[in-house]
């Protein structure tokens, strides 16, 4: 079974992030870039699928030079090969352009299953996978918590507000994975060493037959006019429990008319 996992390189969401004028794009800094946390769950499901069905995992990313880090991380966890799509014309690309590029890459790789995260932690639109599905004419199984298969059909389990669902789809299919899926593994010394011998293919737009007018700032279907930071909530009264913490809490609620 051939599995492609889509991994995005993003600024660490635990650190301060900001948008910068004039175009209000994300401020980037190489050191704080990591693989989008939610894509780690996608990678884990991809590796599990490949392990149970003697398949292979190819990690694919689109982004500038530093984005290769996302693919390297995937190789260190056990992905077999990687593809990094990079092109100067891609600067300023919107979700549609990213999906155009990724769907072309998927077409070229011909996998049985594509696995993505439920959302990236920077733009967080959750749109890229559904756009790829539409461009390829594939079904999408979105926000799943577990991926299973008997080799011919893919079966997923997902929890929704209204209950539990088990769905099945024939392949090829694209799946997105939540953070309720299995805990991502850590790389081991052995897999880190092995990763050094694996190849990362670097593709440009022309390798994929994509015209540069389809991507980048000029092709973007939206533009940002302005961005302001929302004021953060300040801290109020914090006290140590000296034996009456619960009483103090109740008094506070009474004072605020919350009882």
């Amino acid at each position: 079974m051939k599995v492609v996992v889509l991994v995005k390189c993003v600024p660490d969401s635990q650190l301060a992030r900001s948008l910068v004028a004039p175009k209000w794009n994300m401020k980037r800094c190489d050191v704080s870039e990591i693989v989008s946390e939610l894509d780690e769950y996608a990678l884990e499901e991809a590796l599990r699928l490949a392990e149970t069905h003697s398949g292979s995992v190819t990690a694919v990313t689109v982004g500038p030079a530093r984005a290769v880090k996302a693919v390297e991380t995937a190789l260190q966890r056990g992905a077999e090969s990687g593809v990094h799509i990079m092109d100067d014309a891609l600067a300023g690309s919107d979700v549609v352009a990213t999906a155009v590029v990724l769907s072309a890459a998927v077409r070229r790789l011909c996998p049985d299953v594509v696995i993505a995260g439920m959302a990236s932690t920077d733009s967080g639109t959750s749109l890229v996978p559904s756009m790829i599905a539409e461009m390829l004419g594939w079904p999408l199984l979105g926000c799943v918590d577990e991926v299973l298969t008997d080799g011919s059909v893919l079966r997923v389990r997902r929890e929704r507000d209204h209950g539990l669902e088990v769905l099945e789809a024939s392949m090829p299919v694209i799946v997105t994975v939540t953070d309720r899926a299995s805990e991502p593994r850590f790389p081991s010394f052995r897999t880190i060493l092995a990763a050094k011998r694996k190849t990362i293919h670097s593709w440009s737009l022309s390798d994929l037959g994509i015209c540069s007018s389809e991507v980048g700032w000029d092709a973007a279907r939206t533009s940002v006019e302005s961005a302001v930071e929302r004021p953060s909530r300040g801290a109020g009264h914090i006290e140590k429990d000296e034996g009456h913490g619960g009483i103090r809490l109740a008094e506070f609620l009474l004072e605020r008319n919350l009882l």
């Binding site: 948008l19 539409e134 004419g137 939540t178 973007a220 801290a235 006290e239």
Partner: protein
């Protein structure tokens, strides 16, 4: 005015409040047209236009301002065949069909509103590809349309840290509104009880099933037991527990009961299996903004805060004085939740007894 199309989601086989809020919002930009997917296949030999849609739902849609209700009924599926309608793709088909029928010269702008649920996002992505439309997610407000500006909206970005004004550079736009915002719009409409007085046209639309859709089968579907506590998204009081509860939610539940509130959890508590997923508050869970949010044994990571920081009053109980949750708490007790919460419950009962409520 031109039409603004609204994708109506019916998560429990009933029109959602968010969908009604979307119709209200759509009225700001044009004539709201509701696109509803019927559960009845159109080959079931039923000739009512609104087949599969409850009369009460039709009333709700018209009260929310729909001037037209397009009822899309799938062709080529029957519930008995075991092949179950996958609403994401089917809804995309329905919307595309509805829009292509009506695209006249006077109405070149196509605007579709969807709710930001997982399904809503799937449809939005697919539809944007088909319509060559701009698509904007996490929208919190529609801004007035002027002749030269195109469609402009306000949205949040970077886990709600920023508010951003975005403009569509295309004629067609798919606007994905944050579900909690859309629900709040409908709640407000209900509060003020200012409903529109329109009698919508009802138009049936046959919607052929495509290949991709039929590739998905539902093997099992199990509805969740609805708890007796108030629904998390509507609760005025939410008491949430995290890893610090070590799986013992007794005191969380006791305080929620004392305050008539709902219980909630952090990702860590859901991930450990202590709570069901629908209780999770945060970036990958629900966003809530109750009058009171109590966080106990929750550190308050950025991913959790994004789901609750718009609450009116935040109270935190945590053993660690440096827990980030204290940074946004109106009132905090540095202490052990297992002693603080039960004592609070007792004191609340005592106060209530004293003031006689």
């Amino acid at each position: 005015m031109s039409s603004v199309y609204v994708l109506i989601d019916r998560p429990h086989g009933e029109v959602s409040e968010a969908a009604l809020g979307l119709l209200t919002l759509a009225g700001q930009w044009g004539d709201p047209v509701a696109i509803v997917l019927s559960e009845r296949a159109s080959d079931e030999g039923c000739d009512r236009d609104s087949a599969g849609i409850e009369p009460s739902e039709m009333v709700a849609l018209s009260r929310a301002g729909a001037v037209e209700i397009i009822v899309a009924r799938p062709v080529g599926v029957s519930p008995e065949s075991g092949c179950v309608v996958h609403s994401g793709e089917l809804m995309t088909d329905a919307a595309t069909a509805a829009l292509s029928e009506r695209r006249t010269a006077a109405e070149l702008a196509d605007v579709v509103l969807a709710s930001g649920t997982p399904e809503g996002r799937e449809i939005a992505g697919r539809l944007a590809v088909r319509l060559k439309a701009a698509v904007i997610t996490d929208v919190v407000a529609l801004l007035p349309v002027t002749s030269d500006s195109g469609f402009r909206v306000k949205k949040t970005a970077l886990a709600d840290a920023f508010e951003v004004i975005v403009r569509s550079t295309r004629r067609a736009a798919v606007i994905v509104v944050a579900p909690e915002v859309a629900s709040a719009v409908w709640a407000k409409t209900c509060e003020t009880a200012v409903f529109r007085d329109v009698v919508p046209r009802v138009r049936p639309l046959k919607c052929p099933l495509r290949m991709g859709t039929s590739a998905i089968r539902v093997v099992e579907r199990r509805a969740r037991d609805m708890s007796e506590r108030p629904d998390l998204s509507k609760a005025k009081v939410v008491v949430a527990g995290g890893r610090g509860t070590r799986g013992d939610f007794t005191s969380i539940e006791a305080l929620a009961d004392a305050l008539g509130g709902a219980t909630a959890a952090s990702w860590a508590a859901v991930s450990a299996g202590w709570c069901s997923a629908d209780r999770q508050v945060g970036q990958t869970g629900q966003r809530v903004s109750p009058r009171l949010y109590v966080a106990a044994g929750i550190s308050g990571s950025v991913h959790h805060r994004v789901g609750m920081q718009d609450s009116q009053v935040v109270v935190a109980v945590n053993k660690d004085p440096d827990a980030p949750i204290f940074g946004i708490a109106d009132f905090g007790i540095v202490g052990d939740l297992f002693t603080v919460l039960p004592q609070a419950v007792e004191e609340i009962a005592r106060i209530r007894g004293r003031i006689g409520t």
